[in-house]
């Protein structure tokens, strides 16, 4: 199987899980690890896809959908989680609006870019401090989290973060 086929297979599996969890809207800002998943979401007519210019706007859009009863997700790099700390904390503590953030966990041991490293060092801690439940998705064995995170977010009435490795998103290692 080629890298592209592997990534497509991973993306299709993730989208199936997100849909099984009830996700009907996804707001997104690209990351290269997320590119196949975004393509799969955009191609799926059962998920409303929304392009944004900043990740905190994606979180607000997902929150607005949740306000009206539609389960939603944000697809972004973990840098977007850092940028969105204010709105995520507000949704966790103040508004109690549920959503799932599917974030590319850049800056781990598998990542080969020096400028990504700081994100890997701080994202989980910042998200936890903001009041989010944080899960690490390291590969296909963790795919159930793409489905169950929505349920958990709605039960908790706050955002849930999935920090996804490259292997989890595109099925390959660095």
């Amino acid at each position: 199987m080629t890298d592209v086929e592997t990534a497509t297979t991973r993306s299709a599996a993730i989208v199936d899980r997100l849909k099984a969890g009830g996700v009907g809207l996804a707001a997104y800002l690209p990351d290269s690890w997320l590119s196949p998943l975004i393509g799969e979401v955009v191609a799926d007519p059962s998920i409303l896809d929304v392009r944004v210019t900043r990740e905190d706007d994606a979180v607000a859009i997902a929150g607005g959908a949740a306000l009206m009863g539609l389960r939603s997700a944000v697809l972004c790099q973990n840098a977007g989680v850092l940028l969105s700390a204010n709105v995520l904390a507000a949704f966790a503590h103040h508004h109690e609006l549920p959503l799932v953030v599917v974030a590319a966990a850049r800056g781990g041991a598998e990542d080969g870019f020096y400028y990504q490293m700081y994100k890997g060092q701080v994202t989980a801690g910042v998200a936890a401090a903001a009041g989010l439940t944080v899960h690490h998705v390291d590969g296909p064995a963790d795919d159930w989290l793409f489905e169950k995170a929505s349920e958990q977010a709605w039960l908790l009435r706050r955002p849930v973060l999935l920090l996804c490795s490259r292997r989890a998103l595109v099925g390959e290692t660095a």
């Binding site: 900043r54 607000a60 607005g64």
Partner: protein, 200 residues
Amino acid sequence: MRRADVAGAIAAAAPGHVVIASLGTAGRAWRDHGGPNPTFYASDPMGAAPGLALGAALARPDLDFLLLEGDGDLVMNLGSLLAMADAAPANLRVVVFNNGRYETGGGQPLAAGALADLAAIARGAGWPFARTVVRDTSVDQLPELLGELLGAAPGPAMLVVEVDPEPSPYGGPGELSGAEAQREFRTALANWERSKGDEG
């Protein structure tokens, strides 16, 4: 033009819209002088109201939404204009209360508040309908202008209403948490939809 007059005119012009109100004086004007529409008060964080309104409108295309937005809230997230232009929901209209300053924060001017043309920025972002109601416009003209906004072709539509600087001191810590305000909104919306169903 006073904020209260704008809120009152909106209440008369848009009785069938679900309202998303930004934090600050725009939301307070609506709370004090607006209509009985189901209203979600976006509160903090600043800059989130446009996204909340867009997500709500996309989630419920069967409802008409009106975002009542402060200019300070909008300029904190001008990128939201691009997201709204791109998504182009047919059921979302926006009124911006524009006085060029952070009224609640003490009246400090917005960056380029005296220079920027928010309606032009919206048009430049791809909004097919974005107009300014200048400050010396008669209140009597508001119904017609709001009618043009609400009757504009489907797609993003915005009316930027220049309002007078007016004191807007903090009214205390607030009576409701965001979660409580959300529950009030959900209840009001359910009752409102039920009553509309009964009318039908």
